[in-house]
Symmetry: C2
């Protein structure tokens, strides 16, 4: 496995890959969720490149950029064991210069849901993903459905800018308890982790209601909020797959999303119906 830290090393690595390349861009602190993306990329491509870069431009002032877990040694070992061909581990200086041009996410769709509490977050995500795509030149790129809005913004960018890459949204991986895996779970105390289960429980309850025939989004949202009464809810939302508001549910074209703070940790979760 090649570890590329500079543009030159990455380009040299990429040049040697004569076939399909699956790309898994991450912020490191790899867990089973990332591993499932890597496994899928392995299955579907001749080569796999993983990047681990805690991208500063997608953190807002006051967010957890400094605290975000960094586990380079473990990350590299996980990639090695998973049969990854190359890991790109750039510094901020490799990825960014001063007074640069940058990507702006769609002004309407990126300012709902996550965008309300994290304005500008998706500008940073799209900027770094576009840079990484141009460097790695992947055939397919793998993203977790857990960051549903992120997957949609990136798919939108690929379409808007005519990029030659296929975006593959992958199912969220969960603990047995139902908790969606997240690098930020590391911030949770045992008691908070227990309370955090309300997110997945509320989503499972929504699915149960839908299975029982409920279609009214207001009814489902208020039922979910009852289960979420012990955490600090930022939003509960039921949208179509393009994240437009919908008054009622269409099975096969719905995403139910929740964001909440548990203690000082911000968590998100969703299920695609």
């Amino acid at each position: 496995m090649v570890i590329a830290r500079t543009l030159h090393e990455l380009r040299e690595l990429r040049q040697k890959m004569n076939g399909t390349v699956g790309f898994v861009p991450t912020m490191g602190a790899l867990h089973e969720g990332h591993l499932s993306l890597i496994k899928r990329a392995k299955m579907e491509n001749e080569y796999v490149i993983v990047s681990t870069f805690v991208n500063p431009t997608q953190f807002l002032p006051g967010e957890d950029l400094d605290a975000y877990p960094r586990k380079e040694k473990a990350d590299l070992e996980i990639c090695r064991l998973a049969g990854v061909d190359g890991v790109f581990v750039p510094t901020e200086q490799v990825m960014y210069g001063e007074d640069e041009s940058y990507l702006c996410a769609p002004r309407i769709r990126s300012y709902t849901l996550e965008g309300i509490k994290r304005p500008g977050h998706f500008d940073g995500v799209l900027t770094v993903v576009m840079k990484l795509f141009n460097l790695v030149k992947p055939t397919k790129a793998y993203f977790g459905k857990k960051d549903a809005q992120q997957v949609m913004m990136i798919s939108q960018m690929v379409k808007d800018f005519f990029l030659d890459v296929e975006i593959v949204p992958c199912d969220t991986v969960r603990e047995k308890s139902g908790l969606a895996l997240s690098s930020r779970n590391a911030y949770l105390s045992a008691e908070e982790k227990e309370r955090a289960l309300a997110l997945s429980k509320s989503l499972h309850h929504a699915i149960k209601l839908i299975k029982n025939g409920e279609r009214d989004t207001d009814v489902i949202e208020s039922e979910m909020l009852k289960i979420l009464n012990d955490v600090d809810v930022e939003y509960v939302a039921i949208k179509d797959r393009l994240l437009n508001e919908v008054p009622s549910i269409t099975v096969g074209d719905t995403v139910i999303l929740v964001a909440a703070r548990v203690g000082s940790t911000r968590l998100i979760d969703n299920m695609w119906i």
Copy 2:
């Protein structure tokens, strides 16, 4: 010569090009300036693609988007005679969708010079150029030095986003009178065209002063303004090649720029020292 109007037609055209591709993106209304870009692209590449698209996102409200000259038939004939292999003539619907992601030019460097009177102009330029680059996949792309700040913003974007294209800045073509060729010259009356010569005259005067040993930018600028007293000056500026302010001139690393209105027509010109 292939005329591609849809994404499908352009991709089909591009796929058949097995070799270096020179790209000349234009807004149509082709003149000798564009032709010199095309000739250089022909010389340096196996294939040449020209695009003619009046890009709405780089016009500000109240600017001349509707009035901008459209001469498709003549443009295609000029390209055919010049031996161009393919012309991309997209509609707005081909290039843009609704609520899209877009490029933002560097917040500092794009808000000097042109950016002061045309805030957001370079966002539109970079967005369309990035889209076109991703579609055309050129080896080299040719731009006129007349739009000096544009060439620099595009070169910056190529660097920021790790694009695989070489930007080739090409010398400004002038009428015998000295007037820099521009599609917007079509707006000028005979009397205005005469007055417009003040721009190139002021630049030639600046060069003469520099040849005589003058290095102080303030002195040169005030001498230029005397020549420009009969037009409505927006700016006279002396910058280094990265468009930073400089207190004195370094030959080989200087651009002298001028923008002015002549009647209701806005003109720009510059010389690279």
